[in-house]
Symmetry: C2
Subunit: 206 residues, 2 copies
């Protein structure tokens, strides 16, 4: 039998697949989804463009496979509620932030695709809502957890997409203190629980 040849061909195949995946990850992170072509990835991997589709099905699915979205904030979301806001921002800004920003930038801009959008939603869910919502005390815990996630999105937008220089150049300490404390208001038990029926200027205690 020609087992030797078969094995070596299979080995070469999986090696090619891996090379394509690696090149895809690098190029997607550097130039985004739309800015990267299948032909470019193939060239960088030393492979034929048709193999990119053959191994991964589509450019879209290759993209999803190259975007790692594990839970990178467990140690914060599982920690004490006191000061959690600040620690969340600190974790975001100090633990391989460039990779986080790059992934956020690429995925948000590619969220035209339903698959990408769904992945983005489920990633936020896993990283923030699931661990945080059941721990929050007070009314509307899940909604508040989701609003915490929204605020994280906002900070990511500012630094990774809009690239606001005034924020980018600010010290981590300042960002952690200001933005973290703002997030903390959603973590803490709300002082005035939304109230009776807003739209009514009855809040004289403010």
């Amino acid at each position: 039998m020609s087992e030797g040849a078969t094995t070596s061909r299979a080995a070469s195949a999986s090696a090619t697949r891996e090379a394509i995946g690696k090149a895809g990850r690098r190029l997607f992170n550097r130039q985004g989804y739309a800015g990267t072509s299948v032909r470019q990835i193939a060239a960088a991997a030393g492979a034929d463009p048709a193999l990119v589709i053959r191994y991964f099905g589509s450019k879209e699915r290759l993209f999803l496979e190259t975007m790692p979205v594990e839970g990178r904030f467990d140690h914060v979301t599982n920690g004490p509620l006191e000061g959690l806001g600040r620690r969340l921002v600190a974790s975001l800004l100090t633990e391989s932030p460039e990779l986080t920003f790059s992934i956020w930038r690429s995925m948000l801009r590619a969220s035209d695709s339903e698959l990408v959008r769904e992945r983005l939603v489920s990633a936020m869910e896993e990283m923030f809502i699931v661990p945080l919502a059941p721990r929050l005390v007070g009314p509307h815990a899940e909604l508040r957890a989701r609003l915490v996630a929204a605020q994280i999105s906002g900070l990511l937008d500012a630094v990774a997409i809009l690239a606001d220089e005034r924020i980018t150049e600010a010290s981590d300490e300042q960002l952690i203190a200001f933005y973290g404390d703002s997030i903390q208001t959603l973590v803490d038990v709300p002082a005035d629980p939304v109230g009776h029926d807003l739209g009514d200027p009855l809040d004289e205690q403010n």
Copy 2:
């Protein structure tokens, strides 16, 4: 002379241009930038695809012309600082929110383009930073104003891009209260001014 003919041709030209612009605006808002083709716009306007380029220069510039980004929050950013956070969120959620969300969605996803990104940045600057920064009291006023803008981005992401159903289905009152009060933390004079070793330790008056 053939002035009559010339005039009618010119009128037809500007009418065609307008039809293209209108079709572009509608399609971009409905399907986003990448999901809309020049040929599609031309067909919807009853014009030739080449005219789209002729009148607007490129698909990118047509897109920018169809995205209105005026200052829609002046009445809030110029109002009293007390309760400004809540009024900002309220304004966002109640004053033609669908249009706001649609524009945000389209522009963020098209921010691969430098021109689009710059427009997005300058729009945020005009709408929030310029009116708000000089009014905030306390240290790091501009940075805090920019972080307010970041939080607005986060809420827009949640409703317009991620389409978080739990947030979308929440009552405006809840969102206004929770998210607005969180934003208010950045508007109010910070209780603990970031601290001691921060480059400018002279703000003891807070």
